[in-house]
Symmetry: C2
């Protein structure tokens, strides 16, 4: 490397021309960060504790409070410059008793199916409800449906996630309208209730929950997700018995607004202490899940990034924060509170990264920059090559999104792991600690730490 | 694409110059192959059957015979041009009763530890054996060890796989001498028995077996693997109580040579029926494992490749075979028999690919070519880009290796999936069907099919 040979010249020229995008010691820093990550079990054990002791930590529940306290303590222990809680009021909702759902066909018999109420849906009441079923197989079908077809019936949204999409998040984005907007739209047409095929590609037995949105001026109707296998069965049975009945019972209900917190840990910048780089995940997780991939793992990676900075002796120029955001799954109140308070305090936020796509092998680290920034970032690729991580365009996230309002020039970054498996676990009881691979998660944490190290050191 | 505009000219020039490395329709062929793979459950269900009904199918056992018959039937059903069994004589070995192993310390107490006899090791006999322990932490330590330190004692090979290696197969390659050669070397120095730290990076409770080699003229000694967590404990306890005892009991023994089979399925080439491209995995799996990733998945991917050719209407110019090799785990008799018979029959083998690194996301497809071939293969990269698969140098394998003896010019290819998780499952009871992701396996099968499609069509 020329830098080694002409170190002084490069240093002198640094102020005249552009700073070099890398230095000779950068590969060593990378190596020390990855070595530490790959040999440490600290983050992995913390994730285990979080998953096993705060399962179902949706905002407002005691489990969420336990998760706040646990991550606060974890960050205290790694010796940061400051760790604190940031107040966030969140909406609360309770699932009530375990759901019941069954298909009742005079031709095929009766079958109980795995189900769960959609988040923020209303309950059926203790007697449950039943009705005939109108199946909707695509958005196009739904657009053409008429009120008489729907009135008083159960709408069954059964558009599968498209398995041939090479990005599973695209498949999700295309299908998730059924869960988020389907129930309110069906209610507007007079439906009695809604059943949604779970948002997952694989055919299995897990119902996947997730938030559904009420529509202004429309009385909400009860809405559940059923497993993909149950959806396949219901669809099959409907072919042979179009007048079959579906019964389900949910006792969920909305509660009051309750206080909760974001948890923030910080290493103060040595040169620009009031300029911030934020790395975060969301601490809340669906009430039926351990929230390992969504998104306990992202929180733990954010903390691990700070621990890697500390352990590897990296002193950042800017202040670096790990933020456990609250309420991502419902109304993103945590992200809003964080951005608003940052602005009110006069902080300058220069970059932010969110890890909320599971903690699988980090195929890509993302940057959303202009052309010059992307070109400059491309010079860093050789540093990541030994680790099989590619730099690519991409990033952002629901929790860091609000920062853009207050800091239009903020650089959004991201981590984009292999997404093959993500939706098997997303919002379901299958999202357990056991589904996380320590090595994959740690490769991601190290990758994030190294990207933040570069952005902190050289800017973009 | 110019090819569309000047189709005739290109066709004419094909014989004068080099054939084009791709045609306009190739992306469509790729798309149809991946679409079919991503939406089909056939291979996945076949893998489930294989794992759940032929668990422990090490060569010579009835489970191996059941696996032979099952994969034969599966290939018959997909309508190949021919499916047949190829005789292979294999050595047999029986684990006997479940192993027992414990650490006995006057200071720390007694602890049972998870263990398994190494493949082809000799048993302790019904009374078991016990002795004091000499711990070996590295190859360098072992080189300097003396006979008096070892004589009559139990040698405990405890060099961990290096977690900081970015390729886990490198970490395995560096540590596996302890299992393959350690027991024979220890026996030569007069050791009474050998305990090996399991060959896996993670700290967990699964013992991992694998073959150990006897040395000419040395009486073999009993040898077991213990889980990595047990190895950590044993090492810790030895620090505080160097004179502790270790007890274990194994009743394994070698049996006679027994007949078994490779299973071969073939689509006959339309232009060069006597020129072959072989894709294979090994059908045998360790007696304690379902053999999902090692290597039921590789077998099923090989069959799936042929099914994808059939289903997508690809008529290959050369004959394409899927081969389930027998006896990879022990003496690679299946691979030898296949190569020898090919040569005897006057077959011309032009290329071969082995899938035996787990069926995780296919990060790379490999080719071991000369410079010109690698450059030519690089022209195919854009076809793989949408699928996030990279072409790289690499490939070969234990079963296809012998083909090189008879066909020095054969092109070796490979599939190199993400290796983060592989050694958690390798040769252990943790290698179950549930650890396989359908989508990851199918991405691999489609990738293999597309690479074979290109090599068949354009050569290299």
């Amino acid at each position: 490397m020329q830098i080694k040979l002409f170190g002084t010249i490069i240093l002198l020229s640094g102020s005249l021309f552009m700073l070099p995008a890398q230095e000779a010691k950068d590969p060593d820093v990378f190596r020390s960060v990855f070595n530490e990550a790959l040999t440490s079990y600290e983050a992995y054990h913390n994730l285990e504790w979080l998953c096993k002791n705060t399962k179902g930590r949706i905002g407002g529940r005691p489990q969420a409070a336990a998760a706040v306290e646990f991550t606060r303590q974890v960050m205290e222990k790694i010796g940061l410059d400051s760790v604190w809680l940031q107040s966030v009021m969140v909406k609360s909702w309770d699932r009530g008793e375990p759901e019941k759902a069954r298909i009742i066909s005079s031709r095929f018999g009766t079958m109980e199916v795995p189900s769960c109420a959609l988040g923020w849906s209303v309950g059926t009441g203790p007697d449950g409800l039943s009705g005939s079923v109108v199946e909707v197989k695509s958005a196009a079908d739904w657009k053409n449906i008429t009120r008489p077809e729907v009135q008083g019936r159960i709408v069954f949204f059964n558009q599968p996630m498209n398995a041939t999409h090479l990005g599973t998040f695209s498949a999700y984005g295309e299908a998730v309208w059924q869960r988020t907007n389907g129930p309110a739209e069906a209610a507007r047409l007079g439906a009695a209730a809604v059943v949604v095929r779970s948002m997952t590609i694989e055919i299995d037995d897990f119902p996947h929950t997730g938030v559904t949105r009420a529509a202004e001026g429309v009385r909400s109707v009860p809405a559940i997700a059923i497993s993909t296998r149950a959806a396949e069965t219901l669809s099959q049975w409907l072919k042979g018995d179009p007048s079959l009945n579906f019964y389900f019972r949910t006792t969920c209900e909305e509660g009051p607004e309750v206080p909760s917190f974001n948890v923030i840990g910080e290493i103060r910048g040595s040169e620009y202490p009031n300029e911030y780089i934020t790395v975060g995940g969301h601490l809340d997780a669906w009430d039926i899940a351990e929230g390992a991939h969504d998104d306990g793992g992202g929180c733990i990676q954010s903390i691990e990034m700070l621990r890697l900075f500390r352990t590897c002796g990296i002193r950042p120029r800017h202040s670096i924060r790990a933020v456990m955001f609250m309420d991502e799954e419902v109304a993103q109140r945590g992200g809003l509170a964080y951005a608003r308070e940052a602005s009110e305090k006069g902080e300058k936020h220069i970059a932010a990264l969110e890890s909320d796509r599971g903690v699988f092998f980090p195929q890509f680290l993302g940057i959303i920059g202009n052309e010059a920034q992307m070109e400059r970032a491309a010079e860093w690729q050789p540093l990541f090559d030994p680790y099989r991580i590619r730099l690519n365009r991409g990033g952002g996230g629901a929790d860091i999104g609000p920062l853009k309002t207050f800091y239009p020039d903020i650089l959004f970054m991201g981590i984009i792991p292999d997404d093959s498996r993500y939706f098997r676990y997303h919002h379901a009881a299958s999202d357990t600690f056991e589904m996380v691979d320590r090595r994959e998660m740690q490769m991601g944490a190290a990758g994030i730490a190294c990207l933040v190290y570069l952005v902190d050191k050289y800017g973009l």
